[in-house]
Symmetry: C2
Subunit: 158 residues, 2 copies
DNA sequence: CTTTATGCAAAGGGTTTGCAACAAA
DNA sequence: TTTGTTGCAAACCCTTTGCATAAAG
């Protein structure tokens, strides 16, 4: 899906839900989907203000849940103090995250085998497998062995 | 592992790390492992105070990381505002959690197939599979279909 | 005695919210 | 107009921390 397509979908979602298309919201949408990196609310505020300096922190916090509702942005709990937001679900709806607890970096991956197994487990337990989300935390093998992690500051959030 | 065995292991851990065995710490350990339910720091404080009313919130917050260090208690990020603590890892070291985002209940499960797949993925990406942790979020199939969730208030955290 | 631990209360920090001014439709 | 939205700043809430006192070893 193109960036333009994403914006249109969101505008459409807002219109059909009686939400107003304000300049601030457009700036936030622009900032939210013009990157493929994960970001925090604070970072999104900064980037939104480059589009429209009048955007306030409160509006960012109030708009984020709307974007998440569309399914095109996903809230990511990476185990840090803040929430992160991932704009890559439009193009990779089934990706998961593996998080290095040492170097704080995130690698996105897709694995059909895991998806199937998740679905089976969820279904067996009476859950809806359609909305299963997965997070893996791990430590760096290399860091454990050599005391340094080549990933550190080199592999950013995709 | 018996509750008694757990307590002894933790006392041993503390002694060998130069930590003092205070009445408050003993009360917290007692409270932490006399249940198999998940709990928050606040709940642990309450339960600790039933053992020793002099326990303060600060001491609970300062002791929790020590218990987590022993590996017998695990900090659980369930996507809520607070952290949860899970005392069941002593007896089920490989269990995972499936969390219903509708009814807020948690089901613990073990799945060898999933464990293996996790390890393979982690290893392929250069992570240490020994410390992989997993969390699944899902919605209730029943709730989606019938508008009500039989699990609600009936299946507690194991 | 020496050193660590404790309780209290205040501080932190991300997120939410009340409210009066403002702007979309 | 009418109703939803905004910015500001204060409020929230869990967790952490500074400090003087207490107690373990």
């Amino acid at each position: 899906m193109t960036e333009q397509g994403i914006k249109e979908k969101i505008i459409g979602f807002m219109e059909s839900n009686g939400l107003r298309i304000t300049a601030q919201r457009q700036a936030i949408i622009e900032a939210a989907f013009s990157t493929d990196e994960h970001y925090t609310a604070e970072e999104l505020l900064e980037r939104s203000r480059k589009v429209d300096p009048s955007v306030s922190r409160a509006t960012v916090y109030r708009t984020l849940p709307v974007l998440v509702q569309t399914g095109l942005l996903r809230e990511l709990d990476l185990g840090k103090d803040q929430m992160y937001y991932d704009p890559n679900y439009a193009n990779h709806p089934n990706h998961n995250h593996i998080i290095c607890t040492d170097c704080d970096k995130i690698v996105e991956f897709e694995d059909y085998c895991l998806d199937v197994r998740e679905s089976v487990i969820a279904k067996n337990l009476g859950f809806n497998p359609g909305t299963v989300k997965l997070r893996i935390e791990a430590t760096c093998e290399q860091l454990a062995k050599t005391g340094t992690c080549s990933r550190r500051d080199t592999v950013g959030a995709k």
